[in-house]
């Protein structure tokens, strides 16, 4: 599903002393079936942008088009709910939102809330749990008897159980150990590819943005300031540094090498590949010498 922001502004607490403009006349298109990384420092407007996609917030001015649906300031609740049915959201620390007395009850919450066929949903649970690396035997367990990492995976399986067309992920891997971190993002990227979703990953982690996203949008002071393919975005390292953002280590190392006279392309290379460039050029030097 294609998502388009047209002149969207959002102001919190209008008319109060705490009035704050979080988004300022944003024009942005997220193409259908792309995996977009949204990065920016705290307070840049990332979270507001996300909440406008599924109608948790409605624009103060402008409109957000989500497939055939158009959300604006006066959208009706029933209409907003139809949009929400398409959009799955995984917040930070989703395990904090579990509340059911069993894992199954928790996973049923989404499908029930959206009026999906309960029996059909339930039949998919074993597969979904397997997908996130858990077994169906945990369905009758209390979610609170699980470890933090397991609870996280139950929460994500619950969101996938609603079969969203759009998936919004806000730091879904925060706090997991490195193996769990990689496994979870691999899983979400695979799901995205297999089901043709439109996915938005909000993250502070530039390595993740570089690894998983097709497109990156950099937010600053309520506006998208840089966007494009990861290679193009990270070419602007100095501008990113000015916004308090890092570049991936591959970019730092290859830029330093370029400055020292090595021929390294501006692409995001895996460490083995960049090592390969070094080996190739060393052997050329040797032959010439």
């Amino acid at each position: 599903m294609r998502i388009t922001f047209r002149d969207v502004s959002y102001t919190y607490m209008i008319g109060s002393p705490f009035e704050k403009k979080a988004l300022d006349a944003v024009n942005l298109t997220l193409s259908s079936q792309t995996f977009t990384g949204v990065v920016g420092s705290t307070g840049s407007g990332k979270s507001t942008l996300m909440q406008l996609i599924n109608g948790l917030l409605l624009p103060t001015t402008g409109q957000v088009q989500n497939g055939d649906f158009i959300l604006h300031r006066k959208s009706k609740r029933k209409y907003v709910k139809q949009v929400r049915r398409q959009v799955g959201m995984v917040f930070q620390y989703p395990e904090h939102q579990l509340f059911g007395s069993t894992v199954e009850e928790d996973m049923l919450f989404g499908p029930k809330h959206l009026g999906l066929d309960i029996e059909k949903s339930r039949q998919r649970f074993p597969d979904l749990l397997e997908l996130v690396g858990l077994g169906e035997e945990i369905l009758p367990y209390s979610p609170f008897s699980l470890s933090g990492g397991q609870m996280r995976r139950v929460a994500i399986a619950g969101v996938l159980a609603t079969h969203p067309k759009v998936l919004i992920l806000d730091e879904p891997a925060a706090g997991l150990d490195p193996a769990g971190h990689r496994a979870l993002l691999d899983l979400l990227r695979d799901w995205h590819d297999q089901h043709g979703l439109t996915t938005v990953l909000v993250t502070h982690d530039m390595e993740d943005a570089a690894r998983y996203a097709d497109e990156i949008v950099v937010m600053d002071e309520g506006k998208p300031v840089i966007s494009g393919a990861p290679t193009d975005v990270f070419r602007q390292a100095d501008q990113l540094a000015g916004l308090g953002l890092d570049v991936p280590a591959s970019v730092r190392v290859s830029r330093a090498m370029q400055a020292a006279g090595w021929e390294v392309a501006d692409t995001l290379l895996e460490p083995e590949a960049l090592a390969g460039v070094v080996i190739d050029q060393l052997s050329t030097v040797r032959k010439e010498g």
């Binding site: 420092s41 706090g175 193996a179 990689r182 090498m257 020292a260 460490p271 083995e272 090592a275």
Partner: protein, 278 residues
Amino acid sequence: MQPIIICDQLFFRYQEEQEWILHNFSLQVNKGDWIAVLGTNGSGKSTFARMLNGLLQPESGTVTVAGYEVADEEKIWNVRQKAGMVFQNPDHQFVAATVQDDIAFGLENAGIERREMLQRIDEVSKRVGIEDLLTAEPHRLSGGQKQRAAIAGIIALRPDIMIFDEVTSMLDPKGRAEVMETMKDLNRAGISMIMITHDLEEALMADRVIFMEKGKTIRDRTVHDFFQDPDFLKTRNFTLPYFLEMQVALKKHGVLLGNLSLSESEWVDRLCALPSEM
């Protein structure tokens, strides 16, 4: 070297018949050490940290901190003054309406008189760089500022030991850098540090790394030696920092043999000097 923390054969589990969370865990920490504690989720890292100031007590075994037995209930406040703890979530650590009241709260509990209290608030807020935020409401601070304010509240009590339980994992890169700078400064000032983390870049700043698995330490080395064996981490699905991974790949081809550099800038310098060495 003088040990400041001694954990001797600790066993712990949350419920009987459950598997051990700490399984015959022993550790000795010398004064001034900076120890990074690595391990997968569920390896017992956070449980171990909570033993150090009596938030949890072992089922068997003893914990001695700065000369006090942690099991001695009468001494628990001495232990907590000597060993301060900072937690992961910056929003869960404030009790007062302003930053300075929050720092004062701990000092009042410790029975510090007012004049001394004001002096210490001044001193610690400068130390962590929040002197302009003393009258701010904690919830209006950024994540990095919140964590530094929490650290200020603890160092005002002049601890010998600080325990950091994944304190940067909820911060953005800027907040993380601020907190890491503060941590370096505290260690230089002689505070012994236990830092629980999933982040290998952070672990590189410690003096010593212990790796926990199933409630035990399975590796305990200086940071230099620990990182010379990258396969240990890779077989546990830890992704090495990029510059280390690259060195491993080059070494396989016989380029830049010898010890792995543990600093990215030092490594880049070595790399950039390469063609002229040929």
